[in-house]
């Protein structure tokens, strides 16, 4: 189980007057993700989703609060946690000079997958994701959709327990997006925990077990999509989100 408790993240940035100022990307985030669930992190651009997911993936360090994977934290068990994690964002870049096979083999090596297992696993993943036609092509020469499939394959080689997907469908065409959504569903069926951030509310409504709505670094609502719709008396998550923001502004 993934447990996030009172996580805050502060950045120091330089303003137009060249003075340093504090900026809280995430203010006080707490939630839990049970095994075998898909948690949707929803919010507009700049809400703090990417910062939150980067902290969960161990790329950023929280200013306050704790992140625990099955009782382990990054300070003491970084390598152990990362062995069970896969992080994929819409901006994730992969090595252009390698072939798809070389990249996947390199990832297997990094995760400590034994050689005889690695070859089998790569072949299996390539078949499942229909990558055989470009398995030995240089990544730099692949299309955006093919590249995103390679990225998914990269996340699968070590069979992780947790997936952290940040705007993974952003900028992709409808077919490539569907490949990622199918992958998420399949992995959930295999008992994996998936944190999935997006600003496409309809997408989240369809696949998430639970949704966490973030606005300006704060959680404004969390629950199942059905419960959120019921509480906000709306028919979709987009309307629900706007209603919640309106309510927040009125309160102020």
């Amino acid at each position: 189980m993934l447990k996030i408790q009172n996580v805050k993240k502060r950045f120091i940035r330089v303003n137009e007057k060249k003075q340093k100022e504090e900026f809280w990307a995430d203010k006080d985030i707490s939630f839990e993700a049970k095994d075998g669930t898909i948690i949707g992190i929803l919010g507009p651009n700049g809400a703090g989703k990417t910062t939150l997911l980067r902290m969960i993936a161990g790329i950023l360090e929280p200013t306050n609060g704790s992140i625990e994977f099955d009782g382990l934290n990054f300070k003491e068990n970084e390598i152990e946690i990362k062995k069970n994690l896969a992080y994929l964002s819409g901006n994730t870049k992969i090595y252009q000079t390698l072939t798809t096979y070389e990249l996947l083999k390199m990832c297997c090596d990094f995760y400590g997958v034994e050689n005889h297992l690695a070859k089998k696993r790569i072949e299996q993943i390539a078949t499942n994701l229909e990558m055989n036609s470009f398995l030995y092509n240089k990544i730099g020469k692949l299309s955006t959709g093919q590249m995103q499939r390679v990225n998914i394959a990269r996340c699968l080689v070590h069979d992780p327990k947790y997936y952290i997907l940040d705007e993974a469908t952003s900028g992709l065409d409808i077919i490539s997006s569907q490949i990622i959504l199918d992958f998420i569903k399949k992995e959930k069926e295999r008992g994996k925990t998936i944190l999935y951030s997006t600003h496409y509310m309809e997408e989240a409504e369809n696949i998430c077990d639970e949704v966490i709505m973030i606005h300006k670094g704060n959680i404004i609502k969390k629950g199942t999509p059905e419960s959120i719709l019921k509480d906000t008396k709306t028919s979709n998550l987009r309307d629900a989100f706007f209603k919640l923001i309106e309510g927040e502004q009125n309160e102020k």
């Binding site: 950045f11 993936a57 161990g58 790329i59 950023l60 360090e61 970084e78 390598i79 152990e80 990362k82 062995k83 994690l85 896969a86 992080y87 901006n91 994730t92 870049k93 992969i94 090595y95 252009q96 000079t97 390698l98 070389e102 390199m106 990832c107 090596d109 990094f110 995760y111 400590g112 990269r154």
Partner: protein, 382 residues
């Protein structure tokens, strides 16, 4: 997972050998050495063996005695006797290389800073020495004094290394200094590409999500950059030796000099190349990994290129000699030891001190950068 240092090294080497720029830095820079050695040798030889016909036309604005004319003929000086105005015109038209004016007992040499005038001036200096000696002998003879008693009252024997050897040593030292520079250039590009370049391409974020310790990432990158520098260093050393042997056969300035390094000197040269490659790679990695972009990293590494070269050049200029203390000074020690190696007087103590000081510097630099190499610092600190 325990092998992640090996995996990072493998990844970096694969990227490096597939990148045309890294490869060309590694392999093409050493090719400059034969050009430098052969070019400098040809230049110096041209200077030393300049045909006398190119600078022996000397004008005299006064009447020359028979004795003077004989000395001039003996010295193969093509002399002309004209008025001062005529000589000035001849000099302007490049018909003569220098002209001499006489006022009482003073002889004035006229000309400007042309190369042929400089050579002609050396020639006429020799002529006046001979003529002066003749006049002194004649004076002493007239006064019944044995000229030998006065003119050779002391004997001076010239044991100074001949000018030809000086030029040969100069070229050899510069060739070895160029090895240092080639190694620096070879380390700079892959170090920039594997740190700031990887950050700019966005793949570093991906790399940092893998279960790899910062230590393995830095050491893997350090070892791959070191390998590139070592390859350049040894190619440069081989090309230096080959081009010196070739130059030795082609140019007279190397006559009487054994240009083949003995096995011990080759061993010492290899140790210096290895140490310098590791040091410069460590420094390049530590500087470039702190930069946000490839361009920033290149700018940050430019001073290092100069630092690697200038101490050695200054050491040549002031004829600095290797001491145990100087053997511990990074950058300076490598050039000084190379000079000792080419002169076959390298001291084992100085080599050991250089090894120890290099090891300490590399360890310090890498320890600092490994401690700071947390994903947040590396990716987002500005």
């Amino acid at each position: 997972m325990k092998n992640n240092l090996k995996n990072i090294f493998k990844k970096e080497i694969r990227e490096m050998f597939r990148d045309k720029k890294s490869l060309s830095m590694m392999l093409i820079i050493p090719l400059m050495i034969p050009l430098l050695v052969l070019g400098m040798s040809a230049l110096f030889e041209m200077q030393l063996n300049k045909p006398i016909e190119q600078y022996n036309k000397i004008g005299f604005a006064y009447e020359l005695s028979e004795v003077e004319q004989n000395i001039l003929k003996e010295m193969n000086i093509d002399y002309q006797i004209k008025t001062l105005e005529e000589l000035e015109e001849s000099y302007k038209r490049n018909e003569i290389n220098l002209y001499v004016k006489k006022i009482n007992n003073t002889y004035e040499l006229h000309g400007n800073d042309k190369e042929s005038t400089t050579f002609a001036k050396n020639l006429i200096d020799s002529y006046f020495n001979v003529y002066k000696e003749y006049l002194q002998q004649e004076y002493l003879n007239k006064n019944n004094i044995n000229p030998t008693d006065i003119l050779q009252i002391i004997n001076v024997e010239n044991k100074i290394v001949e000018e030809e050897t000086y030029f040969a040593n100069y070229i050899t030292n510069y060739a070895f200094l160029f090895i240092v520079m080639a190694i620096t250039v070879s380390a700079t590009y892959p170090a920039t590409d594997s740190t700031a370049g990887e950050k700019e391409r966005g793949t570093l974020e991906t790399l940092l999500t893998f279960p790899i310790r910062s230590k393995d990432i830095i050491l893997g990158k350090f070892l791959s950059v070191s390998l590139s520098s070592i390859i350049t260093g040894f190619i440069s050393l081989i090309l230096t030796i080959i081009s010196l042997i070739l130059a030795g056969k082609m140019f007279k300035i190397y006559e009487g000099i054994d240009l083949m390094l003995p096995p011990t000197s080759l061993l010492f040269a290899s140790i210096v190349i290895l140490c310098y490659s590791f040091l410069i790679s460590g420094l390049c990695i530590s500087i470039a990994s702190r930069q946000k972009s490839f361009k920033e990293a290149q700018s940050a590494l430019t001073p290092l290129t100069f630092i690697s070269f200038f101490p050695g050049m200054i050491a040549f200029m002031i004829n600095l000699e290797t001491t145990p203390v100087l053997s511990c000074v990074p950058f300076l020690n490598f050039t000084l030891l190379f000079t000792d190696i080419t002169n076959n007087n390298a001291n084992i103590l100085n080599i050991i001190l250089m090894l120890i000081s290099t090891f300490i510097v590399i360890t310090l630099v890498l320890t600092i950068i490994i401690k700071q190499y947390k994903s947040e610092n590396v990716l987002f600190k500005s």
